[in-house]
């Protein structure tokens, strides 16, 4: 019903466009964006949750940004060198950068944050920076990372979200996780934190002392918390909001909004995340411990239809846990499981799970991550798919806390659906789903399937210290062939998140735009269009 009414409203909105709202925005050069859900803190160095990163990216600059090709672009670091033996990485920092409180930004901040935050608290970086034994700071603008083993992945995680630098002078000697600046951050970025009204909005203002004197162009950025999806659609249509990331409206609304002359739907800017959706099979369960059953399930699901019907084309079928958006690492030759119901039936028969008199073979449960309707409908799609080969699926819903406890703690599930960000190096975002050391430890987003393979564990350890990019790629390809053969985890889709933004908003797009800053954003003056 909601959809019908909104469609009705879309027509109306197209007719009486919102000139008034646009005029207001031009006058004050202020941008209103949506952040949803409300962030838990505004410091991405301590919370890697998406909403935190969305706001934090404008307050803190990274050492680098990433282009859409995922190559680093200078930001706080003007240049960097990796020693030929791979055992040291030198960052040359930009001079004349100050924190928002006026104190200079120096290599000491980098050293302190690396040693106390990235290596100790940050959930992803503990692995990424594990090989750093020492940080040398010969002067205020040089930070040299000394490594015990080469660590190629470091250079793909040093943007403002991956490795945010915190001001040492405000954090040193404090209880870092409870530091009051986590919620009113002092950064180096183009916008200064002004106000956070809980449950309502966050206000950032232009940093007048930004190192790039001509920027930022906007005077103010306001992030609004809008919990209801239909209300987000309405706010975007009406022009009250000009920017919203992470697929802010239901997929069925996205196409309609993209036809509005005042709005644009953009799927670029998420390359650094490279999200992949997958199903974990619990290999400790009686039916699923048989690899033939897991392969049969894979053959029974039509991924192209899933991408089109459930995800409205905002996804493409995945053939590997390493998404094709990482072309260097993605393996095209790894085992594939095209839709083949006969093959699926044959594999199930072979496994001794013949159809019973009522036509069914056995029953499985399926739990989906409760991040919205799309995930639930993915579960229902799989239920319908598996029904065709005689498997009954019971789709179960629960809230996030109950889901992670069930899947990563109690391991009380058969099939679990979730998504991971692969990031630009599979070491950061992919291998965690297969590493046996994390099984059943109740740590979310690790190995849920219960898959234990010493060869795979060894590859995962080896890629972390391998300096030769070609050898690393070979290792990752070997990894994909093994895990796609054993199939503890079935990659379903490469998701395409989208941003809805005002058509008169102008900005270049980086590969990590979703976590990037509004530094280069401008709003076109535009006549009222009635």
């Amino acid at each position: 019903m909601k959809a019908i009414w909104l469609r009705f409203g879309a027509l109306a909105a197209a007719v009486c466009t919102t000139g008034a709202a646009f005029a207001q925005v031009e006058a004050s050069k202020s941008l209103t964006a949506i952040v949803q859900p409300e962030p838990v803190s505004l410091t991405a160095a301590l919370t890697t949750a998406a909403p935190t990163g969305v706001v934090s990216g404008s307050i803190f600059d990274g050492l680098v940004d990433y282009g859409t090709d995922l190559k680093p672009i200078p930001a706080l670091a003007e240049r960097w060198e990796v020693a030929p033996d791979g055992l040291s990485i030198t960052f040359h920092l930009r001079r004349g950068v100050t924190w928002h409180d006026g104190k200079p930004f120096t290599s000491a901040d980098v050293k302190w944050t690396l040693e106390n935050v990235w290596q100790k608290i940050h959930p992803r970086n503990q692995v990424t920076f594990a090989k750093v034994t020492r940080v040398d700071t010969p002067d205020d603008w040089t930070a040299i990372l000394r490594l015990s083993q080469p660590s190629v992945a470091i250079l793909s995680s040093v943007n403002s979200n991956g490795a945010q630098v915190l001001p040492k002078h405000l954090y040193e000697g404090t209880d870092i996780l409870n530091n009051p600046h986590n919620n009113k951050p002092i950064g180096t970025g183009p916008f200064v934190f002004k106000e956070w009204s809980r449950g309502s909005h966050i206000v950032l203002e232009r940093n007048p002392n930004y190192w790039d004197k001509t920027k930022p162009y906007l005077d103010r950025v306001i992030f609004k918390v809008i919990p209801d999806a239909a209300a987000r659609s309405a706010a975007l249509e009406k022009g009250e909001v000009q920017y919203a990331v992470f697929s802010p409206v239901p997929l069925r609304d996205a196409e309609r909004l993209s036809k509005s002359p005042n709005l644009r739907v953009e799927t670029r800017g998420y390359e650094w995340l490279s999200p992949w959706l997958f199903a974990d099979f619990n290999v400790d369960r009686p039916f699923l411990k048989d690899v033939r059953v897991r392969r049969a399930l894979a053959h029974a699901i039509d991924l192209s239809a899933l991408a089109k019907v459930v995800w409205y084309g905002f996804a493409v079928p995945a053939t590997s846990p390493v998404p094709s958006t990482l072309p260097d690492f993605h393996d095209r030759e790894a085992p594939k499981y095209p839709l083949d119901l006969k093959r699926a039936e044959a594999l199930l028969d072979e496994a001794g799970l013949k159809r019973k008199a009522d036509g069914t073979r056995f029953a499985l449960s399926l739990d989906y991550i409760p991040y919205g309707d799309d995930y639930k409908r993915t579960g229902e799609f799989i239920k319908a798919s598996l029904k065709r080969v005689g498997i009954d699926v019971n789709v179960r819903g629960q809230d996030t806390a109950a889901y992670t406890r069930r899947v990563y703690g109690d391991r009380d599930f058969d099939i679990a659906i979730t998504w991971f960000a692969a990031f630009s190096d599979p070491q950061v975002g992919v291998t965690r789903a297969y590493w046996s050391d994390s099984i059943g430890k109740n740590v979310p987003w690790t190995n849920a399937s219960g898959y234990r393979n010493p060869t795979v564990d060894k590859i995962i350890a080896d890629v972390q210290g391998e300096p030769d990019p070609a050898k690393r790629i070979a290792l990752f390809k070997q990894f994909q062939r093994i895990v796609l053969g054993d199939l503890p985890t079935l990659p379903l889709l490469e998701l395409k998140f989208f941003t809805v933004e005002a058509a008169n908003l102008r900005h270049p797009i980086t590969g990590d735009q979703v976590y990037g800053s509004f530094r280069d954003f401008t709003i076109d003056a535009r006549p009222r269009s009635n």
Partner: protein, 330 residues
């Protein structure tokens, strides 16, 4: 008579105070253990939201939240806090619970006050009208409209109002509580907030309105059947006076009960309406804290709510006594 009521009321309040303490403590204890039945804890939720985690990260979070302590220690701390009127600290939000509640209180009071006020006054008036014209066209129209509002889901009314009045007619804002971009102050700010208040208060109010209308109508019709009304009519009191002085006053009791119940639920807020209209009220805070397993915050809201319910109950009892002197306060 009024002085009697007041003296009785004071005695009554003193007696009730002891009961309050027991009731509230009981509620606190039940809540504490009940909420722990939900699977998962705040650290898991945070790690879940973070999209990545390590055992060390989780351990650090649990230690920060005090979740590494045994349950009896956590419980002792909690009771100790309550007895010293301290609602505790929300580690997730990095603020004391009492700040968080006070921060949301104005928005909540505004929304609930506006909608309950609108609903109780207009609803009672409509119910009064319907009862006076029972069985005639006015009654039918009022009853059908009330039934319609009662049966329509609140969020649906909300979305329809947004589409019609915000997107379509462009008269009112889509959501939120103020136009932050404009930076209004003083009277301009008040007008701005009022404009933002219209749709959510109306949405919530229409549902309540239906309840009051139906309640008032039924209650008045019942009183119309009483002997003393027949007597009044027989004495030759005009129908208008019968309705206003004899029927209305006696029919108000259930309406006051309903009013008390709704005021008692103010702190719970109105989750659906607050969500649809991005209204920064307590309902959303409570709802979100449940999903985030932010138990300190949730317990704080529930406890404040229970205190309010008990206090409103006392006020309702006193109001009964004012409306109907025959009611004894026990």
């Amino acid at each position: 008579m009024t002085r009697d009521v007041l003296r009785d009321g004071a005695l009554h309040a003193a007696r009730r105070f002891g009961q309050i303490v027991f009731v509230v403590l009981g509620i606190a204890v039940v809540n504490f253990f009940l909420l722990r039945l939900a699977p998962g804890d705040a650290a898991e939720v945070l790690a879940g939201e973070a999209g990545a985690a390590t055992p060390e990260f989780m351990a650090a979070l649990r230690q920060q939240f005090g979740l590494d302590q045994p349950v009896h220690v956590q419980f002792a701390k909690y009771i100790g806090n309550i007895l010293t009127l301290n609602l505790g600290y929300s580690f997730r939000q990095g603020m004391p619970v009492s700040w968080l509640i006070l921060d949301r209180l104005p928005a909540t009071m505004l929304l609930m006050g506006a909608s309950i006020g609108f609903a109780s006054i207009l609803g009672s008036a409509l119910g009064f009208l319907a009862a006076r014209h029972a069985g005639r066209l006015t009654d039918t129209v009022v009853s059908v409209v009330a039934l319609l509002f009662y049966a329509t889901p609140v969020f649906w009314i909300g979305v329809v109002l947004i589409v019609v009045f915000s997107v379509w007619l462009d008269w009112l804002p889509v959501g939120g509580m103020a136009t932050i971009e404009a930076g209004y102050t003083g009277i301009a700010y008040a007008v701005d907030v009022a404009r933002h208040l219209v749709l959510p208060a109306l949405t919530l109010g229409l549902f309540y309105l239906a309840i009051y209308t139906r309640l008032m109508r039924a209650s008045m019709l019942q009183v119309y059947g009483e002997d003393f009304i027949r007597t009044a009519v027989a004495k030759g009191v005009s129908p208008r006076n019968v309705a206003a002085r004899h029927v209305l006053r006696n029919a108000l009791l259930p309406v006051v009960t309903m009013l008390g119940m709704q005021i008692g639920s103010i702190l719970g807020g109105a989750i659906l309406v607050e969500t649809v209209f991005s209204w920064p009220g307590l309902g959303r805070l409570a709802f979100e804290s449940l999903f985030q397993r932010d138990l300190n915050l949730l317990l704080g809201i529930l406890l404040s709510s229970s205190v309010l319910v008990v206090l409103v109950n006392i006020a309702v009892d006193l109001a009964y006594r004012l409306l109907d002197p025959r009611v004894e306060i026990g």
